[in-house]
Amino acid sequence: MKSMLGVCLGLTAAAAITATLWWGAPVAFAQQEEERPLFRVKVDMVVLTFTVTDSKGRYQTGLKPKDFRILEDGIVQKMNTFGEGNKPPVQVLEDGSTRPILAGGGTEAPPTPSGVDPRTDAFVGTNVFVLFDTSNYMYRGFVYASDAIADFIRGLDRADSVAVYTFSRNLSRAADLTRDRNEAIVGLRRAVAGDDAALYNCLLLALRDAAKVPGRKVIIVFSNGPDNASMVAPDDVRTVAEDEGIPIYVISTSDVNKDPISTNVFRRISTRTGGQVYFAKTWQRQVEAFESIRESLGNSYTVTYYPQPNPNEGFRKIDVQLVSDPGKKFRVRARPGYRPGREFE
């Protein structure tokens, strides 16, 4: 196979506008108390995306903020905004009622500690990063995969943005994040076949890019599974996704029983980040998988909140409770938690 292929367009990632809170201002981070430079725990506004399904896997829509209770390490959180599917988010008031916050909504934006105005397109729709495996492992299904991804891009909600990245040994930014479907498809159709597969290295790089973008974002990995070139372990990448709140959806073109290690890893990284895994060997199954992801994006809820004071600098467990479901008939799928970031003082 050719050894030097891959399109790269260079993402000019938008600067993250997530607000930042500094908890316990004079308290320096951990061990470095008397030394320079100081680190502090940095808690961005948490963006939490989740879905609610019944026992048959049917999405439950139309739920309201007051139907949910968000806990972080058991501490009840105060919702800042609430959104369903691709509808514009609404501000959640003290009493649990809501009011529109987007421009034209006739109300003021909810206050944010850093003064960031959330009335922006960034909070409408989902930023979808498609990570397309173009390594040798995908050689045979390359064109069908390309077709399936193109279909998926065309079918995305108007409010969604999409970026197309391809990878073999290195990452290639085939199309930057855009709402122009044609632009994304042009990038996709220029993807070229490569050689080795460094799935987890490239997933990490895609996550780093996605983390810079404000609003809701997901990564969809389209891969055959094997990785023969990565230096990072899947669970280290999964940790980054958890911390950044980016669900990972995986469409594996491999047989579920053929590669048990990849299968388990795919299950783990998708479940732990609030995403889902699909094993879709045929083109038809791939299309169905994409349809399911689209449905999941359209039927998910997105909540933002600024965490209540919490001394825990390690992993913070998130629990989304459905107040209106005492019988626990419904299932909430969300990431299990995150680790707050650390930054220089």
Binding site: Q32, G194, N228, A229, V232, N264
Partner: protein
Amino acid sequence: MRLSSFLVLGCVLAIGLAQAQDAVSRARQMESSGDTAGAARVLAEAAQAANASEASLAAVAEFLDRHGNSGARTAYEKLIGRTSDGARKRDALRRLVLLDLQAQDNAAAGRHLEQYRAAGGQDLPAALPSWSQSEAMPVIEIPGPVFSFSRMAALSPDLKPEELLPALARNIVTNGYQASSSQEALEQTEYLKLVFRYLSQARELEKLSGADKTIRIETCESKETAEILRILGFRMRGSCGTELILETMNASRAFLTIDSGFPLAELEQVLRTNRPFTYDYRPTRAPILYGAEYWLSSREKQSGEFIDTFMGDPALCRLYLGLSKLDRETAEELRKVVPAQRLRAFAHVLDFFGGMFLIREGKLAVPGGSRSAAAWTELAGVSPDQGAQFIERLLTRDDGWLSSYFDALSRIEGPTLDYLAEPERLKRFYAALRGRVTSPGPARPVFRSNTDLMLLTTRLRVDANGQPHIPGGVEVWRDLFVKHPHGKYDGKLTRLATTWKAPDDVLEALFALCRKAVENEPLKIFMAMSDLSRKRSAALEAATVDRLARQYRALAAQYPIFTEVPSLSDAAILNYLETAAEISSIRDQGVRANVAGTFQALVGLWQIFSRNEAIPSSAAEPALVSIVDSFGKLRNGKELFNAGVSGVRTLLKAAGASEQVSEQDYVLDLLAGTAKPGDAEAHQQIVQEMVRIFEGQKLISLKMLMDIADHLDALAKGEKLNPTLFSRLTTRLSELQLPRASLTGVEKNALSFGYWTEKHIEQQRKMNLRAVVERAGADAGKLDDVREDLAPTLRDTLVGLNYLYYAPPGAQLLRTNPLFVRSHDFLGVQGTNQTWRNTEVLGTGWPSSAGGRLVGSLAGMAYALAEAEQNFLIPSREQALIWGDLVPQMILSAKIPRWWQVTPAQVHWVGLHVRLGESLAAEAMLDPARRTWLGSVLGRQAAPARTSRVTELLSAGNLPRALENITVSELFLIAGDYVKNNKDGGVLVREIQRLAQASPDTVNYQAISRAFGTPKPTLTTSYRPELLHLRTFPTLMGYSSRIMAESWESSILYYVALADEMHLPPGRLNVAIPEWTQQTVERIFATHLEDWPALLRSLRVVGKETRDRKKDQQEKAAGGGA
């Protein structure tokens, strides 16, 4: 009245003149102190004044010229308009002519040339020459656009048309064919099959494109629509209109469509909107040497298109590749004399070893010149005066041995060549190299297998007495061959060794060993020993060389440590070897890993501090001896911890730290490069990046460890327990998670290594120091024992500090895997002993590990870390992958040196040399004598074909293309040669000389080599940066392009010249060079492993982007100001 007017006027003029002079001298002072931006401002203000003096105008013009500013031309124009001084005017006009040519403004150059001559200038021609374009080569046509063909054939689209076929030939030779499992013949690889399939599809599309070679689809319903979709392998889903979607119908065709970059999405869009689609489908026109007829047999001429025949015959491709490496005159001579069919049989030899052939007036230039001509005649059987026949003999004589010998000697010059080309010696060493059985020759494998020969001839040192340097003397080598430590190197040589008396005897044996295909240890030992003694003031003693030679197999990776400080004594070196042996003898593997890790990490820090002159050379040896001594006879972890703490204190003391400083902070300062930075912002930026990684790795600071150690002492004296201290440590360590806690049974079984590193991490996780201390109470003995628990933590901190220094820009691994440092495996996979071996990357591809890690000693950690990180770089261009062997060396060159000690004058000196080199190239377009001179200087570095190409391009008036073929280090050398021989050579030369006179200690070629050289661990057994000015090496068996990468010295010189142009203070180099390096790597678009022109192109792209960014910023600032 009149008198008073004159007086007033005189006073005004005098004041103006004084002000101008003041501005000029102020600017000069600012420039000298490194504030070039300030100097530029002052001069610009002075020049803009209404009464600007001639002196200030001249100062501005020359300042801008010296700093490569494009405004220099305007400034010179202004000066010319004002000055009445004839000499000054001539000087300015001369510079203008050359700057015009560099700016490709030939009209202005012609105008200024006329003015120059009118002003009395004599040394340039009266008018611009009528530059003749070089003779156009015949061309062949390849179906489809060049863009698509390049994608399919893995060729860089930046290639010039004449480079297309040689590059294709190389790819066919290296990637096009493979051994067949079922038959003797070679079979096509998938790569080549796809190229052929693409050509077939391209031909179908070409038919569709009609006479004007444009594919036209008028509407969605046209009959051509169905045809093009059939060819492309797609079909329409949905009818014409907005619902239409193109989907795969024929997977093979569709793959080619996408892989070749056909604008499918655009076609789809046009069909959806029912607009016409047009696509330029003109064929690729590739110039071909001698025309297509020359290459084909009469049968082949009948059989179809040239490109199919060409790609279908790897021997033909090899021949094409070989001939394309010759300079035009040599190739033509060879073509006239030797039939293509005969050359084809020896194409592999011509390809690998023909690049240095040079025929002029029918005669071949031989290494050693006329003195050696007779010996070469004897060896080849034909006189070099019969150039083509001589080459034919070289190629056909002994399966390539004589050619490889000729090639290796052609690449060197100076005393080493004088020595080796002595006629009798020339024949003797050839006989040794050739041996009795000549097959297989050195051109048979995929890479040149004469690596050892090239390294030996390149690195052999000849002493002042004209004799080769034999480290330790002949006796050492005789003993080594006779009483070899690991079995005989060669039976015959072992017998002969007893008779050795002279250096030539040793060298003869080394030449004989060069023909061996197996690992050539004696030669490697010889080169390492030569390198160790190269910079030393006192030669190594014979006993030391003997010991080093005998321990080479086990400890070779450690030897670069001894070249960091050339004054290191024999005793210190032997002491190190002794301690290494002691550590190796520790039976408990966990303890051995901790001792080796702590020891190597301290020595690693010593290396860094010594290299950066943070530890003065006088204090370097005592510090190393102190560390080494304290690790000699360790019995337990407690002693290890104490040795580690004492090592840190020794290093800090040697670096001049006061006792009050925070150990952690001071070490970080030193790792950033200096404790007294000239540029605090850059320094802080580097420190912050290191702290980020330190935090990401959850390491324990030195200060905390020292505090705990001190507190244990205090507890023994009855002080109260400080629980905070211990809880901080516990909290920190509790954050550690064993790698992949959620491993399944299958995954665990897939693990093949890592037992000891996991145990090491687990030991720290489980440590409850506070409980241990509480149990110890005030018992001094028990409290002392607590230190044992801290030893693994101290090891990780010290190892981590080494990682911080060498972390490449971005450092994804160190940011993502919090156990990366702790996972460093000092033992290696079960059954291997890698404690002292070179650092390796292990665990790539996740199923075999919990992420990759580094294994072995810390000796080669900088390279291994760069190797591990390189795949996180994101190529900015399609088809570009990160270049495996080159990129780690580039990262190494940006991370090992620090430029805090560099002076503004040194930066400017490099910038001036590069600009002078370019200016001399411009002058060579006008002046044939200058062109000849430039060719002769360039020829010392470049192969004849490239040298001829450059002079051809210059005589054709094509400066940009000529400069694309000259590396930055060659420009530097050209300028250096010119300065040496021309005392009065204009503004650039004057400034170079002025700087050298003003700071003779720091502004000279040796100091510049130290300041802006690159580390070359493989070529010189040293990480100390230096410039060697070697010819760029080809790819070599066993090293791929690693040696080529080490011989590449242009990047840093280019960046320094760029920094000079950008007016960056020297301290900023510490931040800018790693950033520019990353950008350069991401922009390289190479076709093959010797494609250094691609690297040069990438450097220039980064330079242009940097300049454009600065220009944008300035314009924005000016706009904002307005």
